[in-house]
Amino acid sequence: MVKDFIRPILDIFGKSPFGPIYEHALKGKETVYALKKVVDAWCKGDMESVVKLAEEVSKLEHEADIIKQKVRERLHAAVLLPVDRNDALEFLKPQDSIADSAERAAELISIKEDVILTETLKKQFREMMNKTIECIDIYDALVSEIKDLLDSSFSKKVVMRTVEIVPKIEELEHEVDIIELEMLKEIYKSEKELGATNVFHLYHIIITLADVSDNTARAADRLRTMIYRPM
């Protein structure tokens, strides 16, 4: 009733996309944490849990998609933001891929029951997963700076403080790459023990797991592009 008699001129205030952007980042982080549980169960050989936990990852990825839709809606063509709208859209894509690749990795792990894992590989998988978690934790810290950036209207100090976080993520991503390469060498070295099918299967899992931190670093880079401006 009241709303019927309010002239909607102040509709000029759009809905901010930044709240849901952070929410989306957190959901991505949750998905990666859920993936870690999958990898842990897998290394213990508990396939029953793997299947269940992989479903959980899938559910979280779906929730991330719903938040992404909300962000997209708020980044409509008529919105004026303190950052470039295209930069924001270009940033959203890799951030969404974090959950996507985590889901893909969990799926791949869950589809083959009789996988053979050497002790070295188990150790490497855990190591890779821990690095990925470290990476996503710092990413969370990076994205949570958006609030301060908005509050200070992108003051130089806060922009610099934020931008400085990005290389830490890139460093961790690089470390994951090194582990990835070692793991690939390891599966080819153990080809006789593993068999061709397992090599093929593990190859894809390793590549996809590495994608998680890859996408995280890409999103961090895109965030830097979005907020950085010469002053």
Binding site: V2, F5, R7, L10, F13, P17, S152, S153, F154
Partner: protein, 338 residues
């Protein structure tokens, strides 16, 4: 000048309805921008805005009221009876248009409505042969329309500059942004008061301009008591209905922090006050919208929805012909029957 005459009484009542509407919606919308900071409660905002709106109307409202009353139509050339029914038609049509348009969520302006309606009355006079088409002060009308386009732009530019300076010299160097915002929460009390004062000085005319014409005051100055009646009407609107509007607006604009709100309000009020001193009736709300866009362009607001601008342009392009036509027709009917 016979207050007891039914026609004049009707015009006065219609004028009070306009005033009520202006207070309930326009003023409340503008005040809604300052409750987000929580420096003032809604009750305090209403009291403060009421006092300043009233002062603006009484002490600064004369020029715009004169423009509405006799700046567009040379009423000194017309028989007083015709002026009274014309003023009544204009104010009734403007009031009804605003109520209907508000219901249909059109972001209309009371100023545009009343100017269109006054023009319609003039055209009615022309239609009935009481006035020549060239006697309508088209140049004044042109200036008014130009001010409608310029005022949101000026509001936008000034708000942009104010926020740019705040950003560069305060936010950029501040150790604690939250503290800055807290201080600006208090400064916003001043800028909100400034908006209310400027609003009163410009918008009271929408309610009392036609009334003063109906009263036959074309020779004299617009009397203070009439402006005071308009001011009281606006304040009543704010007090009886405005608080709900303020609340609704306040909930929606959580992203307008005090530094941003201050910039938008200061830019708006300065623009409106300059227009008031030039006797130009403009829309405070449209100026405020321009100011918000200005702050947005300076990187101050998380999301500004520019699609509203198209709606605003659309509704003002519709408002002037609609109220002009309505008031023209009503005038012809009234002239035949009263």
């Amino acid at each position: 000048m016979e207050l007891a005459e039914p026609l004049i009484l009707f015009t006065l009542i219609a004028g009070l309805y306009m005033a009520w509407n202006i207070g309930a919606n326009d003023l409340a919308n503008a005040m809604g921008t300052s409750v987000g900071s929580k420096a003032l409660t809604i009750k305090q905002v209403i009291i403060l805005a009421g006092i300043l709106e009233f002062s603006g109307a009484v002490f600064f409202g004369k020029r715009v009221t004169t423009t509405i009353a006799k700046g567009i139509i040379p009423i000194e050339l017309i028989d007083q009876h015709l002026i009274t029914i014309g003023a009544l038609s204009a104010i009734l049509v403007a009031g009804v248009w605003i109520t209907v348009a508000t219901f249909y969520k059109l972001p209309v302006s009371t100023t545009h409505s009343i100017v269109g309606a006054v023009l319609g009355f003039g055209l009615g006079l022309v239609f009935k042969g009481s006035l020549s088409l060239s006697s309508i002060k088209w140049f004044v009308l042109l200036k008014i329309v130009a001010s409608w386009i310029l005022s949101p732009i000026t509001g936008g530019i000034s708000a942009f500059l104010i926020f740019y300076l705040i950003r560069k010299y305060i936010l950029e160097t501040a150790e604690n942004v939250k503290k800055v915002e807290r201080i600006f929460g208090y400064l916003q009390i001043a800028s909100a008061s400034y908006v209310a004062f400027a609003h009163g000085s410009n918008d009271v005319a929408n309610a009392v301009g036609p009334v003063s014409a109906a009263l036959g005051l074309f020779g004299a100055e617009i009397p203070r008591w009439l402006l005071a009646i308009g001011g009281i009407g606006i304040v009543i609107g704010l007090a009886t209905w405005g608080h709900r509007v303020i609340e609704t607006v306040g909930e929606r604009i959580t992203t307008l922090t005090p530094t941003r709100g201050f910039s938008a309000e200061f830019g708006t009020a300065s623009t409106v006050l300059v227009c008031s001193s030039l006797g130009l009736p403009i829309s405070t709300t449209h100026t405020l919208v321009g100011a918000v866009v200005g702050v947005g362009l300076a990187g101050g607001i998380e999301a500004v929805d520019l699609s509203v601008i198209r709606k605003i342009i659309y509704s003002w392009v519709v408002t002037v012909p609609a109220t002009a036509l309505g008031s023209l027709l009503l005038y012809i009917i009234f002239e035949a029957v009263i």
